[in-house]
């Protein structure tokens, strides 16, 4: 089963498509609320909605093309038979995957925050978007602002996803991709839709919590597996070619490093245990390295969460109170200065056609 559905790919695609669908749902919500004079004219409303979807669809299409081409090229150029260094590749890629997932994962739990952040950005962008200037490009941007925003967002999120997926999953077979990608897209789109419909925040949050727990189980397993692969590489080097013929039995593992070993239930090769291996990092032959790294990962995660909770509650990280306040004060000063400059009488000709204002649709 793990050969046709890669769990890590699913979660990455889910996360990225979640963010993209948040953007779209926020945009659609704005349009509903009357931004861009859509409240007055149902035709305008429909047109703007169409812009959003068309922009999104084009972005998605381009992403799929790029992603498909990338993965396809990678696999046809031949990734199999790393040979003797296969264990090192598996180990390195697993660590990369674990790190990527770990960093991305917790953001999913601040979906409301994500939504607010986008709402603010989009508001700012739309307010300042009295795009001045002649030139067909700016006219085009003005006219289709509602479509360009989702297009660029989706493009950006999608390429991010491709890069992350590439980092996570290049060691697994090509046929593990499609199902995982489709499911990830579906799940991300589904949550976005719920949010747009004003669905119960709590229900979504519960779902996201469960999804994130799963995600971190997978990441912890990946991290543990990475260490296991590296230790296996060292052991294979010591024993030489005979390791393969010992199967699951004595000689397939280093007794000095062994924490437990059962002559069955091999997570690399045996049916249902491969799922255990994919989700929990189960090994039939665990080493000190794999067990300790698993626990260290969780400890690190728990510590990070504690830090983040502290920061959210108090506005600063532990012990960094005064440093944080100094930074905030400096930032406020800069903002003040900017506002004073802006309201300088010399620059009051804001309404005139000047090319000084850059296109203010920032998708940063």
């Amino acid at each position: 089963m793990v050969q046709i559905f890669n769990v890590s790919i699913f979660f990455i695609v889910f996360r990225e498509s979640l963010e993209a669908s948040v953007v779209i749902s926020v945009l659609l919500a704005f349009i509903k609320q009357g931004v861009g004079r859509s409240a007055d004219d149902p035709k305008v409303y429909k047109a703007l909605v169409k812009h959003v979807w068309v922009g999104a669809a084009i972005g998605l299409l381009i992403c799929l093309i790029i992603g498909g081409a990338f993965i396809g090229t990678w696999y046809t150029l031949g990734t199999d038979a790393w040979g003797a260094s296969e264990d090192i590749w598996e180990g390195a890629l697993s660590i990369v995957a674990a790190i990527i997932i770990s960093i991305m994962g917790l953001a999913m739990l601040r979906l409301n925050k994500m939504k607010e952040k986008w709402r603010v950005k989009i508001t700012k962008a739309l307010e300042d978007s009295k795009i001045r200037g002649k030139g067909w490009f700016r006219r085009f941007m003005r006219k289709y602002a509602m479509g360009i925003l989702p297009f660029i967002t989706i493009l950006r999120e999608g390429i991010e996803a491709i890069v992350f997926v590439g980092g996570v999953a290049l060691s697994s077979p090509a046929k593990a991709f499609p199902l995982a990608v489709v499911c990830g897209l579906a799940a991300g789109g589904g949550v976005g839709y719920f949010m747009y419909k004003g669905g119960d925040y709590m229900k979504i949050q519960y779902f996201l919590i469960v999804a994130t727990c799963f995600l971190y189980l997978v990441a912890a397993g990946l991290f543990s597996k990475a260490i296991w692969f590296l230790q296996n590489f060292v052991w294979s080097g010591l024993v030489g070619g005979d390791v393969a013929e010992t199967g699951d039995g004595p000689g397939s593992y280093d007794v000095r490093q062994s924490v437990w070993h059962v002559n069955c239930c091999n997570g690399q090769s045996s049916g249902g245990w491969m799922i255990f291996n994919a989700i929990f990092g189960w090994q039939n032959s665990a080493t000190y390295g794999s067990v300790i790294s698993y626990n260290l990962y969780w400890i690190a995660l728990i510590a990070s969460i504690m830090l983040m909770l502290f920061q959210e509650k108090h506005g600063h990280y532990p012990f960094l109170k005064s440093w944080t306040e100094k930074r905030k004060a400096a930032k406020r000063e800069r903002e003040e200065k900017k506002r004073l400059d802006a309201s300088d009488p010399e620059l009051e000709s804001r309404d005139t056609d000047s090319e000084t204002k850059e296109i203010s649709i920032s998708v940063v």
Binding site: V239, D242, P250, G251, H261, N263, Y294, I299, L301, G315
Partner: protein, 602 residues
């Protein structure tokens, strides 16, 4: 390269009718040599020479060998392979069985009579020492042999495998370690004829040569043939057989074959003689290994020495079908021992060899010395230890050994102190998964007059049945003669008629002196306990088995990991559910407006 010449020398007195005493003084020391021309290394030699000198005597002679260990860094011991040592069990030589190791600087005297004719050899029986060089032929001449007068010259030929590295180093670093979990035996570096290669065996036309052949190797059996020359097998392992025509023999380590080879009429050609490894016995065949060794029956010193012709298959004579000259019908057994041969890994990750789940571990006190110091308890096998795998045999009984080989390899087994009838020997099993086992109700082929010898091989996943008479009181070792397997513990001990040993034999003082010099115990049970022979505390045991499944360590690890995961997921949930007010604060920061009701500096 050595040229062969007529061997007619007796080591001692010229009066052939009287039994003489033959004395050797051996100083065992390190000698440099380069037998395959590829690699100079130190060997264990005797009196400064390597190969060591052969021992030669006549039947009924007394042989006295005074061995001084001048190695400096290793103990030693000598075993005279195939010699019955009747009444002198202490002279047999295996360390841990009949004697202590002889430490550097000490000496030991082997004093025994030889009442059996034929070809034998002597070699070290300490650890895996003999492949480091301490082995040589032991020839017993017999004027009354059945084919006396049928030959012109009496000579010998040795074959051997050969390692460039020393055995202790190979054993510790390559073989008996956890990085060799399959127990793969180290591969020899070359094959040798007479401890050399490309030898020229000088022969004259129209003569018959009696060639006594011995395989002094550590691992590999060899096929031997002489191109265009057939021969007759006349003796194996000291047992005369009806002369049997053959063109190729298969000789395992420790076996001997004596053949009569009649040379051709003319001297126009020289003929290659070849010894070829049985490569089935090696786990891998390195690309650069030459597993044959060649010599030539040299009719013409100045002629060509042609390369040997390649052959498609080995057409060797199966020694099971040899008929002893002194014919005996199969014995009926009084006592039967059945053992299964298997190889397994124990808890230290190392691969060991087992007879019935016991891998041999030498006791603290040599078993013979336990017999001598145990009085009436000597008939109870317990006192000899849990890991010496000892059977106590009665006197003048017929003992049967049934050996079922669960290993997919060939093994040559040797019984000290006896020859045995080879009652049955199965073929190899058709596949690795099944083992052919002896079924007395469905016997296989039994010859009318079974072949007898002292070293016989069992086929992969096959079996054999041996029978012998326990007419030689002593402690006799039964083991695989592949030195690597002996190191892995493929051995058992037979204590034959212990009461008779006690009443009729004594241990010489110099043997005990060697024990004392090395700090070894020489009295008491296998644990050295002289007070309570049934208290084996402190005895040497085999390593613990591999843990089957979860041990305490594993369970703790699993529980901790589960706890970590649950606590982690709890934190994630807490984070996910935490207060929305946080979000508003963050949003306010993004927008740049101060919050209504809170002080940022809190």
């Amino acid at each position: 390269m050595r040229a062969f010449s007529l061997l007619a020398t007796l080591a001692a007195s010229a009066t052939a009718a009287l039994a003489a005493t033959v004395q050797y003084d051996f100083s065992v020391d390190w000698v440099q040599a380069n037998p395959d021309g590829d690699y100079d290394r130190t060997f264990i030699g005797i009196n400064g020479e390597w190969p060591p000198p052969p021992i030669k005597c006549k039947i009924h002679d007394r042989v006295i060998v005074n061995v001084t260990n001048n190695l400096g860094n290793e103990p030693t011991a000598l075993h005279f392979h195939g010699i019955f040592m009747n009444g002198t069990n202490a002279m047999d030589g295996p360390v841990g069985v009949t004697q202590c190791p002889v430490p550097p600087g000490s000496n030991i005297i082997y004093n025994f009579t030889v009442d059996q004719p034929g070809m034998y050899w002597y070699h070290s029986h300490f650890g895996g020492q003999y492949p480091d060089g301490l082995r040589a032929p032991f020839i017993v001449y017999d004027d009354d042999e059945p084919f006396a007068g049928q030959y012109d010259e009496d000579t010998y030929l040795t074959v051997s495998d050969y390692y460039h590295q020393s055995i202790p180093w190979l054993t510790a670093n390559k073989f008996l370690t956890l990085i060799n979990p399959t127990g793969a035996e180290p591969i020899p570096d070359a094959a040798l004829f007479n401890d050399s290669q490309n030898i020229k065996f000088k022969v004259e036309p129209n003569k018959t040569y009696k060639i006594r052949i011995v395989n002094m190797g550590a691992l590999v059996s060899q096929y031997i043939w002489f191109e265009d020359h057939d021969f007759k097998i006349v003796e194996v392992d000291g047992i005369y057989v009806e002369p049997t025509d053959a063109s190729m023999i298969y000789i395992t380590v420790a076996q001997r074959y004596t053949i009569l080879l009649t040379t051709k009429n003319s001297t126009d050609k020289n003929y290659p003689m070849i010894a070829s490894f049985d490569t089935d016995m090696m786990d891998t065949i390195p690309e650069d290994l030459v597993w044959n060794v060649t010599g030539w029956l040299t009719y013409d010193d100045n002629g060509d020495f042609p390369e040997p012709t390649l052959i498609d298959q080995y057409d060797f004579y199966d020694d099971f079908n040899l008929v002893p000259f002194e014919k005996e019908e199969p014995y009926e057994p009084d006592y039967s021992i059945t053992v299964e041969v298997a190889m397994k890994n124990l808890g230290n990750g190392v691969n060991y060899a087992f007879f019935n789940d016991i891998t041999y571990v030498a006791p603290k006190v040599p078993t013979l010395y336990t017999v001598m110091s145990s009085g009436n308890d000597s008939t109870d096998a317990t006192i000899y230890g849990s890991n010496t795998h000892t059977y106590v045999l009665g006197y003048q009984e017929v003992v049967e050994i049934v050996l079922n080989n669960f290993d997919p390899g060939k093994h040559p087994f040797h019984l000290h102190g006896h020859t045995f009838q080879v009652i049955e020997r199965s073929g190899a099993s058709p596949d690795d998964a099944t083992t052919l086992m002896y079924d007395p109700a469905n016997p296989g082929t039994v010859n009318e007059y079974p072949m007898r010898r002292d070293t016989v091989y069992v086929r992969p996943n096959g079996y054999f049945v041996l029978r012998f008479k326990s007419d030689n009181p002593g402690v006799w070792f039964f083991h695989c003669h592949i030195e690597w397997h002996l190191a892995q513990g493929l051995a058992l001990t037979l204590v034959e008629a212990p009461a008779e040993i006690q009443s009729n034999q004594a241990i010489p003082e110099d043997h005990y002196a060697a024990c004392k010099a090395g700090g070894y115990a020489y009295e008491g049970n296998a644990a050295g306990n002289t007070v309570n022979l049934f208290d084996l505390k402190g005895e040497k045991l085999q390593p613990k088995p591999l843990p089957a499944g979860f041990t305490a360590r594993g369970i703790v690890a699993m529980v901790f990991s589960c706890i970590s995961a649950f606590v982690g997921m709890g934190c994630i949930t807490w984070y996910g559910l935490s207060d929305l007010k946080t979000t508003e604060r963050e949003v306010a920061e993004i927008i740049g407006e101060p919050l209504d009701d809170s002080d940022e500096s809190k």
